[in-house]
Amino acid sequence: MIVTSSDNRFNKALRTIFFMPNLIGGILLGFIWQFIFTSAFKAIGSGLHLSFFNGWLSDPRTGFWGIVILFVWQMSGYIMLIYVSFLNSIPQNTIQAARLDGANRRQILFFIKLPQLAPAFTISLFLTLANSFKLYEQNLALTNGGPYRSTEMISMYIYNTAFVNFQQGYAQAAGIILFFCVTLVSFLQLALSRRGEN
């Protein structure tokens, strides 16, 4: 992903393409991938005679990975943009100075660029974590928690307890726990990453 920082037409087109899924809401994304995992995967599987591609969403384990793939597909363009903007803000003269000192491209990447990207890592990790805790729509549209509620994420659990089973007090308790989890994980992650940055 780091390679796409330099500005030319090919890279700009790529950035647009990677960013596209991020524009579209979770419900629509979930449906797109439901089609891919059921129909398209079946066609690939029967074409290649591999049972690997069959019934991804009807198996608890692959159903979970289906949500992971969808989430990666959606978020990576966004995260990439953050890295690009940090890469572009590294002053050119630092890189030139390193080059004058005889550093090759690999050394520049590891010793000059990566350390300056540390804040970008923090932000991306924070955003990805926060968003994955809040994941609901993709879950609903892709698997609806099935098979047998095995892929039901926390947000969906709260929703179902409150508005399907009508146990609102219980669901609210789960909501509070979710809040504490998110806060705790966010602070831990920020503290650890900040220490890593220095």
Binding site: I17, M20, L28, F163
Partner: protein
């Protein structure tokens, strides 16, 4: 330099392949939306012979597209308008009036950004439900309440960058504070206004969870809501469902291609702040 050149071609090739993984899901949806039922079944991966655009017409009617589009538009414009006005005014006040009260508001805004929506959804809904106020207007109010904290923080940063001497100059010329804000300070942060509008529009336009709880009634459906119920109705008819998906995606992708650069800078700016 031949080695460097071949390296460049290699990286272009690799990234084209990776890019394909991002394009192909969209392509496959588009391809299959222009088929009959048999074509989707026989070969979902590429075009088949039964090409037709009839699915779009059916999906357009089933989605009640014009109506749901207007609903989505109304809710998005209403919420974003209110968010922009409220958060700009609030941020201006707390950036110019120094004191403990301003910093308390600032930290409350920063803190509330951490709260996941699911943690407050149930009391929010039961309060609005008790007073029987669940419609498009209340959705606009809720959206505003949920989004102002991020917008205030973004605007606060922007106003800090506007020198105070500008305020003082306007005051010397006889402008009262409200006039200074509207004619001098607010125009000075118009890039940030663009960012706030884009970030909030994307979020509100695509939102499903909150609208599904508030405006899940006839005549108030937004596009994601209608798409969800339409999808349930057409379970074995993928070509129709996919045509509906394409229709729902067209407005936002078209707008993105028009405002591409602005959208991308806004999104990164919103993340980094």
């Amino acid at each position: 330099m031949p080695k460097k050149r071949s390296l460049k071609y290699l990286s272009i090739a690799i990234f084209s392949v990776i890019g394909l993984f991002w394009v192909y899901p969209f392509a496959i949806v588009l391809i299959n939306s222009m088929k009959g039922k048999r074509g989707v079944f026989q070969n979902p991966l590429w075009f088949t012979k039964d090409f037709s655009l009839a699915n779009f017409k059916t999906a357009f009617q089933a989605l009640d597209f014009a109506h749901s589009f207007l609903n989505s538009l109304l809710i998005t414009i209403g919420s974003v308008g209110l968010i922009t006005v409220v958060s700009a005014a609030a941020a201006y006040a707390i950036s110019r009036v120094k004191g403990p009260f301003s910093s308390i508001i600032y930290y409350v805004c920063a803190g509330t950004m951490l709260i996941p929506f699911q943690s407050i959804m149930i009391p929010l809904l039961s309060i609005f439900g008790k007073v029987d106020f669940l419609n498009r207007t209340s959705l606009i109010i809720m959206n505003t309440g949920l989004s102002v904290s991020l917008s205030i923080i973004l605007y606060y940063g922007a106003f800090q960058g506007v020198p105070k001497s500008l305020d003082e100059a306007a005051a010397l010329d006889g402008a009262y504070p409200l006039k200074t804000f509207i004619h001098v300070i607010f125009p000075a942060v118009s890039p940030m206004t663009g960012t706030v509008i884009i970030l909030n529009s994307m979020k509100i336009w695509n939102d499903y969870l909150l609208p599904s709880l508030v405006v899940n009634k006839d005549g108030m459906y937004t596009i994601p809501l209608k798409m969800y119920s339409f999808f349930g109705e057409t379970n074995s008819e993928w070509q129709l469902a996919l045509a509906g998906l394409v229709l729902s995606m067209i407005p936002i992708i078209a707008l993105f291609l028009l405002l591409q650069k602005q959208v991308m800078t806004s999104v990164t700016e919103g993340a980094i702040k």
